[in-house]
Symmetry: C2
Subunit: 587 residues, 2 copies
């Protein structure tokens, strides 16, 4: 090896030992005849020292020539430091340099390689290999490694088998847009990259694999947002001979294990909330339950008293922001502006303060008597100092808007600490949702999700079809859907009926999913599973909002890797071999 030790492991007990280290020059200082060099590697920082009259003059000269990020190999004796640095694990020692070799010099990096850098997003993406040298980014990827290893350890211990499913599969019309791959050997035909290994893991259950998992890349050709990437990673799992309860218990245990292993936290048992309750109390199927602030419905309390906005609304609903009555007019105006943003879409905000004397002061005092306002107070179970925030309008839209306001208030009130974790299961999702623009039902989870057996009869009437609940579940942590899954259909007739409801003709269903329908006729066991968004889970463990810094080489919002400059044109010869031509409009 080119080194005897790493830059993170020497301690006072090593004093007197001659060692060789390799690493990057983090910084150099020179003062009063002494030169110091901080040498960095993945494991830490170690201080090198060269003193006038002690270390050889040529070596001192060489040390002074070192620039930031030079790669060096250094040999010397471990010595006790004069002034110890308790903040560094190696702060008790220094290396008195006997030999110094530059393994590779470095140009001045385009941004500072420090925990806090001066590099903008674009520059750091272009020189991603330099950004990855910064400790916070490296720590993220090391965290990701630990989460992956712990996941595998847990699932392997539970007799799950990791099976690799194919990356070159078949394009299907349901779901998001596919990335496709032209086949050279089959001209005019294309593979697709998987959006998930869904059908393959179900086939593995039909094969009797019983417990399957895979940490696997998936692909969606969608317009990108900050927290979406065209390629992303799932922890994909499936079990046979189980009911919903078994899956919830198994994967609750996985997540408890991960929190314990990675964060040393006991998150305890996960509460369960129905989709209906999540929508009613949080206006959101992924409620952030780090804080309460549940919705209070007010139709019975506020209607019929002459305030047209409330009287004409389908739903009047509010939240109680405890101890926020001191909010200034300016702050309240900000909140009003917030809810009126187009993406939130409320028409206005009604607020009411509970004063210290117990009286209530609202923004609609001219419509409501103090007596009426006291009923509001009772409905919210509000105390002096509380601030009530109320929206009104079409029920679904209003709940959605209030959910945003609730999250905003949680943020303002410091109730969304990244180091606090609140996990729960949301269960009993609707099987189907009607998409107005498309004029038909879509699977809320996916077309392979089983309806609850007791609701199957409701599928037969157009009036009740939307009421059918699925054996589907999401795991939500801190308002983020980290995983979701369902018990699957394992009966050919039910699956065929499902495709029919989703607008497939029998021929289309057979052409696209015939292999699965056929498989269900050769002895398919009851089965179900779950998939976790691995990037998202890691960013949550890391206390970050974006997944990008938990991915070694992410793409930007145009799907480009600016470091390698991809995608890029390919040669005419390649196109010809693949039997395709580019057809760019305007070219």
């Amino acid at each position: 090896m080119l080194r005897t030790h790493t830059c993170g492991e020497l301690r006072p007990e090593h004093v007197g030992l001659t060692v060789t280290l390799c690493g990057w020059v983090q910084r150099t200082r020179d003062k009063g005849g002494i030169s110091w060099v901080d040498l960095r590697d993945r494991y830490g920082l170690t201080q090198l020292t060269l003193e006038e009259g002690v270390e050889a003059e040529e070596m001192r000269a060489a040390a002074r020539e070192l620039g930031r990020e030079f790669v060096v190999q250094v040999t010397g004796k471990v010595a006790e430091r004069y002034s110890k640095n308790d903040k560094m694990p190696t702060g008790g020692i220094e290396i008195r340099v006997e030999k110094l070799e530059v393994l590779n010099p470095a140009k001045l990096p385009p941004f500072l390689i420090e925990d806090e850098t001066d590099g903008g997003d674009d520059l750091r993406m272009k020189y991603r290999y330099l950004d990855l040298r910064r400790s916070p980014v490296r720590q993220n990827l090391m965290l990701r490694h630990r989460v992956a290893q712990a996941t595998r350890r847990f699932l392997d211990g539970q007799k799950f088998i990791e099976v690799e499913t194919p990356v070159l599969i078949k394009s299907t019309p349901e779901g998001a847009r596919d990335f496709v791959v032209p086949s050279r050997m089959n001209p005019g035909e294309f593979y697709a990259l998987p959006q998930s290994p869904q059908t393959f893991k179900q086939l593995l259950m039909v094969s009797g694999f019983d417990r399957y998992f895979q940490i696997v890349k998936c692909f969606r050709d969608e317009d990108l947002r900050a927290d979406r990437q065209p390629e992303f990673t799932q922890i994909d799992c499936e079990m046979a001979f189980v009911e919903q309860e078994d899956i919830l218990n198994t994967f609750e245990a996985l997540v408890q294990y991960l929190f314990k292993e990675v964060k040393d936290l006991e998150i305890g048992q996960l509460p369960r909330m129905t989709y209906a309750d999540a929508m009613r109390y949080y206006g959101n199927d992924k409620p952030d339950t780090r804080f309460e602030m549940k919705f209070v419905e007010l139709n019975d309390v506020v209607k019929g008293q002459g305030f047209p906005v409330f009287d004409n609304a389908g739903l009047v609903v509010g939240i109680n922001a405890h101890n926020s009555a001191m909010y200034t007019r300016k702050q309240l105006d900000e909140l009003t502006e917030f809810v009126k943003r187009p993406q939130i879409g409320a028409t206005g905000l009604v607020y009411a303060r509970v004063e210290q004397d117990g009286s209530v002061k609202s923004s609609v005092d001219k419509f409501y008597s103090q007596e009426a306002l006291q009923q509001w107070k009772a409905a919210f179970n509000a105390q002096p100092g509380d601030l009530l925030l109320i929206l009104a309008g079409e029920p679904n839209k209003t709940r959605k808007a209030l959910s945003e306001l609730r999250l905003e208030m949680g943020q303002r009130m410091g109730l969304r600490d990244k180091n606090t974790f609140s996990a729960l299961w949301v269960v009993d999702f609707p099987l189907l949702e009607f998409i107005e623009e498309e004029g038909r039902y879509f699977a809320m989870h996916h077309p392979f999700t089983s309806p609850k057996p007791e609701d199957i009869a409701l599928l037969d009437s157009p009036d009740t079809i939307g009421e059918v609940r699925a054996n589907a579940y999401d795991m939500v942590i801190n308002g983020v859907e980290v995983g979701g899954g369902s018990i699957r259909i394992h009966d050919r007739a039910v699956q065929a009926r499902m495709f029919e409801l989703l607008g497939f003709s029998a021929e289309e269903a057979q052409a696209q999913f015939g292999f699965l329908l056929d498989a269900f006729e050769y002895g398919a066991p009851p089965h179900g599973g779950i998939a976790f968004g691995f990037d998202r889970l890691c960013s949550l463990f890391g206390g970050a909002d974006s997944i990008r810094d938990f991915i070694a080489f992410p793409k930007n919002n145009s799907g480009r890797d600016v470091m390698i400059d991809s995608p890029s044109p390919i040669s005419e010869a390649q196109l010809k071999e693949l039997s395709i031509a580019t057809a760019v409009v305007g070219k």
Copy 2:
């Protein structure tokens, strides 16, 4: 859960327990008023018993209705068997059935779900989910899981970090043909699927990750052979601040660990052989060293004695097949036919037997005296009963042909037992090889491989360029190259020179690999690595020749997945969105 136990775990100690099992009906029998059902799951087989006058008649009727591969749930008491079956782990017990429910019936499978099946390749590929039910195939995938987990355990313990590199990267001209992916958001541009994460893992070294690994899918759009798949899996590894010796030691330890964990075998230290010796003694850079039978060069012994074939040959070389002197004329004719096959290309075979009295009898007796033949015998160190097989011709071609003959003889002599493992390192590969058809040098390993420092000067003259050795190495087990790697170039100037030697203009090199060349200027450490063919390694552990049965859902030789019928045409709308058109000749 739908079951209390699996079909593999009940033993006499469970007698008296009421249990519920789920599984597939393997077979049913009915004799003398007793019905038996063998129930199968991933874990084993358990016998169910229903006896006239003991179990209820309706249940006995239901059991008689069960077909092969029906999925059933059964509840009953564990009982001791009358006639125990020592060959089955559950052979000491049976289940006396109290409740029997068909969870899903099954059509008659298109082939037998037994260890030995009557299904042909095509049928088994189409119904892969049924073939995966067969124990030998399932065992292969479970072996694969164990190898993967053990690999991760070992490397994690050695401080390697698993980092996921991107699947959507950039097409590069060097190497095999790329699969490409049209970009919707960047019309006219394409991603490529990685043939390996080579440049990314090198960038991770530049980033200071120090020790990286990944078990990762790679893609090559090549014409397929039995042991090639368009998507395959590598154990991909890289280390910084190391020399070749460190890498050999680290990964020798990995493979020793895998043999111990997976096969419970100690394979001991791996011998090292130079490429030159491998070619000289085995005619092959991946020698099968389960047996000796080294090449013996005979130019000095056989030339100048009037046999034109030998006199005119660049090389006369042979092997000694011990104790094979009893080979009949017919067998020797077979061997002659074997070496004359076009893909082997020898013009003929000369043989000589050492008789019991020590005399030598050859096929070219009219050219060689007994005295001369005794010199052959001495050269081969041959004993009575040995058979000498000799080829002559152009040296490289002759070595290659003799290598095939040696392997054939090893096979015939039973020296290539699949349960015997002989591993070695082949080192000191040439850096470049001249490909006549292309009229230029190609990197023997890849363009990032470092020349041996002591050979760098040889790069400067066209006469010596082919003699430059690389810091490159292959791990070979039983004649199979299971892994290969090299110390990489980490100096911009050397890398640029390498691209130049490979025919890249400076502009092309910068356009394709500028990010790597740039990275080398910002502090790149010395580094190197290795990649193992994971499918191949698993098939080797499993004692199989083909990798196909170690892949859950393989493709056929036309790159098709016949089960899901992929690749397939995509819609005009999809093509339009991707700004491409199909351009199939003749359509």
